[in-house]
Symmetry: D3
Subunit: 159 residues, 6 copies
């Protein structure tokens, strides 16, 4: 039996923290579907298409990873992928509450899926996409936060 997990997010842009979660997920599941959401509470810096392309470039070395975009309910997308679970990375306390609440609601909407959480590596605790964009916009160095393709894309945006 093949076990599939969905890893949803905005990925605006993908960081080393996200890649850390993807790698750990591959140890637990047979396939990881990275699901880039079309909706977002704030206007994204990168278009949906750009975010998908960057993710594909940064996960090219993993042959059990697929990158897709989705709209509508996450649980509907998950069902269509024939996945058994949704995975989310936790960075100490900072995002726990929101993640947990979302997991409980998703279970109510679709009791057959589980949301599983894994601890991000401590060296990525401080890392989120918003901060990366803010630092890059002021021409600070972000090469320790994001992989090469994202670095180039950020430099292009903010030069």
């Amino acid at each position: 039996m093949k076990r599939i997990v969905v890893y949803p997010g905005t990925f605006d842009p993908v960081t080393f923290g996200h890649l850390d979660v993807i790698e750990r997920s591959l140890k637990l599941f047979d396939k990881v579907v990275v699901a880039v959401t079309t909706k977002s509470s704030k206007k994204p810096l990168f278009s949906l298409k750009q975010r998908v392309v960057l993710l594909k470039q940064c996960t090219a070395q993993f042959n059990r990873v697929e990158v897709k975009s989705f709209s509508g309910l996450l649980v509907d997308f998950t069902k269509k992928q024939k996945a058994e679970a949704i995975i989310r990375g936790l960075r100490e306390l900072s995002n726990f509450e929101v993640e947990f609440q979302q997991a409980i609601v998703n279970r109510k909407l679709a009791p057959s899926f589980e949301t599983v959480f894994i601890a991000t590596s401590p060296k990525y605790f401080h890392l989120n996409s918003t901060m990366v964009k803010e630092i890059a916009s002021m021409h600070g160095r972000v090469d320790c936060f994001v992989p090469k393709p994202v670095l180039l894309a950020l430099n292009k945006k903010f030069k």
Copy 2:
């Protein structure tokens, strides 16, 4: 490939909250090894042997669950079980910090295992073994917290 997960704890005694985690784990893994620890910060109410027996009675209906006791480091036990992950249930914020720290330390001791967390059902958020024992010791009703075999064992202890 068969995926095995270890679910460690004191289980003094097992509650509906623990059984909820075991059932959810079975959806994600091929085998769940419930690992009853011999060490404990406070003196347990039930002996190690009693705790194992109660767990076996309460999980008899699941043929992919094994109950074992262990001493020494959890990561050593996990390796011996040929497991890929350790699973822990989260009850909103109350136990998150401790669980998270333990996961980071275990990863440091044995980088090849992941700790995965799943959200306990909201109806079990309030539930922990300490509270169950306290209520039972004052002859309050605990039948909504623990399964039948545990109920009988508690009544016997506190009659």
Copy 3:
């Protein structure tokens, strides 16, 4: 002596979680004034008038509940209602900090009122109006989150 409590909020729209708080308040006070605020940090989905009407429909069975809208300072409104307290529901940790800070400020502005908190039922912990609107906007099922009149109003908005 008749004790009156004010239950303030945006109620955009009212959910089963809000109704749970109203019912519990009725056990502690002689009258509950549900106070719908005109100000809001984000543009509401339902107009003030619609929110008040929905609340009236959903609380019609309680004859000690009044629904009113208010602008200006909550403490001024509370004084005008001859109320003794403000009541707020707590959903585990998620909204505690903000609620607590507001209570301390309100006490500073009007030391004669108390803010009292009550625990929402665990089955409503995950529930908030924002999530309900998001799910409804993607045509997910929300009948387990909101009462009938709200369900009809949401369907009309998002069909």
Copy 4:
């Protein structure tokens, strides 16, 4: 209709923080029953009898306050007092989790009672009985933390 509330605790010893909660409770309820628990996770400094006497001395000015000791389940004691609610003071985040969990369990044991929380005055946030005892044991000044009768009792213990 007369509304009665139970305010439970160890009160080892009573502090200005506890008295703050009692005074605020009197605004919301017709009678406050201060309930001193006989059980305690650690050995108390003052005997049950001493704790009750100190509480009586410190609340002598309020004629709607009663001080009693209780053993067994809090909800059983509450029923016997014909009370409608249990009240607890909150000091920012520090004790919220434990208080909340206890409230949910008590509601499960006795659905007819509510636990209500009120915010302690900010000037008492830092204050708890354990700290007071520790400082007093090293002959630090605690007159800004506890009322006169408690001060004398502490001095007697630690001289």
Copy 5:
């Protein structure tokens, strides 16, 4: 050796809480550079110039305080000031997570600076600029939250 600390913020407007942090900083450092940021997630009520002027008026009595505005990365500004540290006030738990994450990121960008935190006085825990503006906009009293020059400026804005 002269020790300089930077105290960054939006200060829209400066409150008694901010002044409390400045006074405490003066005990630990030889000079405090108050750094008013030009960027802000929401549109400020007061212009950058107004915010700087109000801060200068409110700190005129301290001859070791300088008020400056800055744009770009905080760590670059800190370096230019020949400062050794960045200071931030903590109000119990409410702002800890965000502050901590920012400190870790700033250390990554510039390992030679430390971020130090000090506890704001409990009487200012509840206090933040957003709340002050909200209350003032509804003509509530804010004289216990902000110094005289700010009070006048707020009255002028909202009359």
Copy 6:
């Protein structure tokens, strides 16, 4: 003017996390007095004398660090050292509440001292003495948690 800071703790035993705080403190203050407390909520593994000796060995390279033991109130000890501040390391959220409360109480006992907090390096977030002792007692590897002299002392205890 020479600035002195006191860094108090149990240090049972000293870890890389503690040494990280000491090194950072040296950037901000002219002298760091490491203060080993004689009181402890649980029985320490190492005697007071051993803990002081281990700290001296591990800080021998810093000529502005002094190691002392103290009993009684921390604020009294701090005064005797002619120190201006107490410093404490923060590991994300896990120990914030307790540290903060202690700081507020110490300020009440001695308003002239400040408690300053600094963020421990993320790689030491997971690290505390209790965990180190637990792992060492089960013969797990702790060489990434503690310096050489402590490693030898632990091996001797648990061989």
